[in-house]
């Protein structure tokens, strides 16, 4: 019987040497004549422990990390194949404190299963929800999603059930399910981890959406910066097709659902849903004027569901365990769990899935352990490049949609970027405008021109030219962009600038 060893094939783990570790383990096993079977799983999300190697023993999966290829001979010498003691050993993976307090629903299989294997997916509860969906009416499936309280995890937090109901109610021959996998916010990587670590849950969620609203074609719009996720999705789509879950006879139901991946080409704006649809149609990713809503006139003019990766991948858990079970997690109007991503200058960064409602402080210090540099945390930016900077005095704020919006911030896709006290907030504000200028689609003036003028004004402030007047001008410019832009890019790019001005005014002055 060969020993099963898990070495993540996740892009983040590979970026820290997981590929070399896997090669070293194979070579050392060969040298010693040890029989092993290597599985390339996703990452469990504790990037501070990556590459995290797990060995299957009678007691469970024993974890070792962070492992470098140089550690491998020593691990064999310490008999890690039987779970032997070693300075890098953490005991059972599930018992690591960082994982133990988490509430993993959407990510329950990520880092656990072989992402290429339908059999493994089924063994861990996969496709039970689809079987259930096929026995329900479309209206009942939509009702379950509505009752779960699930809101769009891409950032807009629109109730998913309402969107699905709108598409269900359209009487047209062709409808589409599209997945927005253009995860462009800095500080976020939940979509990537899920697509690499458990792509079949996304596929199952999209099939269920198709069954619910009567759509037969799905597209995953994936950003070009994610080549590893592309390979994982293509492999999983092929496996699901071979196993009969995709194609003309979904799980023997005589219903049809086909799925393909379309690649973006490095445009942040294509994460905005109407711009994404333009891009899927092969055009410039310019924002469309709404109405009509995509749910009524979307891809190729047909009713279209546009949902984020995490939204769709949460659907199987909800249908399998029941809407009420999901809604029992969370606080206020933020129901269920959120995969939170701790990033930037943080000691223990990674993915934490928890019910809404824990505080930023708990995340930053209990999970994150403070900064990587060991200096005090000065601020965090939550919700990507369009999210506000939050000062340390507000770290007791709960992580849910309403609490964050109550302090003038936003949750977005759940990414938290940590900065220590060396950060220069006027420069971060200038960067927010620069980024908007680089990524503006150009369709509306406040965003296209406003962002460029914003960079210039902040530059003058940094140079100490007429500071008071220019700060006032900057505030007015932000107001114009917020009020006058066509979509969230120009409309929200001022948020980090305004929050930096509000909480860190002392940084907006001449440099010495």
């Amino acid at each position: 019987m060969s020993t099963v060893i898990y070495v993540p094939g996740d892009a983040g783990a590979l970026s820290l040497g997981a590929g070399e570790v896997a090669q070293a383990i194979l070579a050392e096993a060969r040298r010693r004549g040890a029989e092993i079977a290597l599985v390339r799983n996703g990452s469990r999300g504790a990037y501070w422990l990556e590459p995290l190697v797990e060995v299957v023993t009678p007691a469970g999966r024993m974890a070792y990390g962070p492992v470098s290829s140089a550690d491998v001979p020593g691990l064999f010498a310490a008999d890690f194949l039987s779970g032997g003691a070693h300075p890098l050993a953490h005991g059972l993976a599930d018992s690591i404190a960082w994982f133990k307090g988490q509430q993993r629903l959407t990510f329950e299989r990520v880092g656990v299963v072989d992402p290429t294997s339908v059999a493994d997916y089924v063994k861990y509860g996969g496709f039970r929800a689809l079987t259930r969906a096929l026995s329900l009416s479309g209206a009942d499936i939509v009702q379950a999603i509505t009752a779960s309280g699930l809101r769009g995890r891409g950032g807009a937090a629109f109730p998913t059930g309402i969107k699905w109901k709108t598409v269900l109610d359209q009487r047209t021959a062709q409808k589409y399910i599209t997945c927005n996998a253009d995860e462009g916010d800095s500080g976020t990587f939940a979509d990537r981890m899920l697509m690499e670590g458990d792509p079949l849950s996304l596929i199952e969620g999209m099939i269920i959406a198709g069954v619910a609203v009567g759509a037969t074609q799905g597209y995953i719009y994936l950003r070009a910066e994610y080549p590893h996720a592309l390979r994982a999705l293509q492999t999983a789509i092929q496996a699901a097709t071979q196993a009969g879950y995709l194609g003309d006879n979904v799980a023997g139901s005589a219903r049809r659902f086909n799925l393909e991946v379309r690649l973006g080409a490095g445009a942040y704006i294509c994460g905005e849903e109407t711009s994404m649809l333009e891009s899927l149609e092969g055009k410039r990713g310019e924002v469309r004027v709404r109405p009509p809503l995509p749910a009524i006139k979307g891809l190729f003019g047909q009713p279209t569901i546009v949902n984020n990766v995490i939204t769709l991948a949460s659907v199987p858990w909800i249908l399998d365990h029941g809407a009420e079970a999901y809604a029992n997690f969370g606080s206020g109007k933020s129901r269920g769990t959120l995969p939170i991503q701790l990033a930037g200058n943080i000691r223990r960064g990674g993915l934490i899935e928890r019910a809404f409602g824990l505080s930023l402080r708990e995340l930053l210090y209990d999970y994150g352990g403070g900064t990587a540099t060991g200096r005090p945390i000065r601020t965090v930016q939550v919700g990507g490049p369009l999210g506000a900077y939050i000062p340390a005095s507000q770290f007791d704020t709960a992580v849910d949609y309403e609490a964050l919006s109550g302090i003038g911030a936003l949750l977005g896709h759940g990414g938290i970027v940590v900065f220590d006290d060396s950060v220069d907030m006027a420069r971060m504000a200038r960067y927010a405008m620069e980024f908007c200028a680089i990524e503006s689609c150009g369709k509306c003036t406040p965003c296209r021109i406003g962002s460029t003028r914003g960079v210039e004004v902040i530059e003058r402030i940094i140079q100490g030219i007429d500071t008071e007047r220019n700060v006032q001008l900057l505030e007015e410019l932000c107001d114009t962009m917020v009020q006058g832009s066509l979509c969230g890019l120009g409309g929200m790019a001022p948020f980090p600038v305004q929050s930096a001005l509000k909480h860190f005014r002392e940084d907006f002055r001449a440099r010495t």
Partner: protein, 159 residues
């Protein structure tokens, strides 16, 4: 410059013919051309336009809208350095300074020997391991200047 066994325009013609019947095919066609040739040559624009019954301006407009598409050949190795907030919090600006000095080029440029192209990128989704960069599709995390030099040295030796 090595000569191709198949002329560029035949490659473009094949790609257009294979994909023109698919829904909304322009981006896929441009990806396929860049995938095979490394960039989208100016001569491909009228060919693609004609194949899809679009104007040349429309095709040009799409190519120039997206940062990912190149209109000039890349170096042997493409280095994409993340410049977004998470990486900035971990010294991405200093790493960019180091990279410019080490390679002797600015962003969007290619070294004189044609070995390396340097591109900024706004998030590689490796934000718990900042700063990050990607070389020829290989992701690297927690990149120090020393690690950067080692990666470049490896690229200088290989093909």
């Amino acid at each position: 410059m090595q000569t191709r066994a198949v002329p560029e325009k035949d490659i473009v013609r094949r790609i257009v013919t294979e994909r023109r019947g698919r829904p909304g095919p322009l981006l896929e066609i441009l990806h396929a051309i860049q995938g095979e040739l490394g960039y989208i040559p100016g001569g491909a624009v009228p060919q693609v336009a004609e194949g899809l019954n679009l104007s040349r301006a429309e095709v040009h407009g799409v190519i120039t809208f997206y940062h990912y598409f190149r209109r000039s050949p890349p170096g042997t190795h493409t280095v994409q350095l993340c410049q977004a907030e998470s990486c900035q919090a971990m010294g991405a600006e200093a790493l960019a300074e180091h990279a410019r000095a080490r390679l002797g080029i600015d962003f969007h440029e290619t070294t004189a020997n044609g070995r390396f192209s340097l591109e900024p990128i706004y998030c590689l989704g490796n934000c718990a391991c900042s700063p990050a960069l990607m070389i020829d599709g290989q992701l690297h995390g927690r990149v120090t200047p020393e690690r950067f030099d080692a990666l470049i040295a490896a690229g200088e030796k290989g093909t």
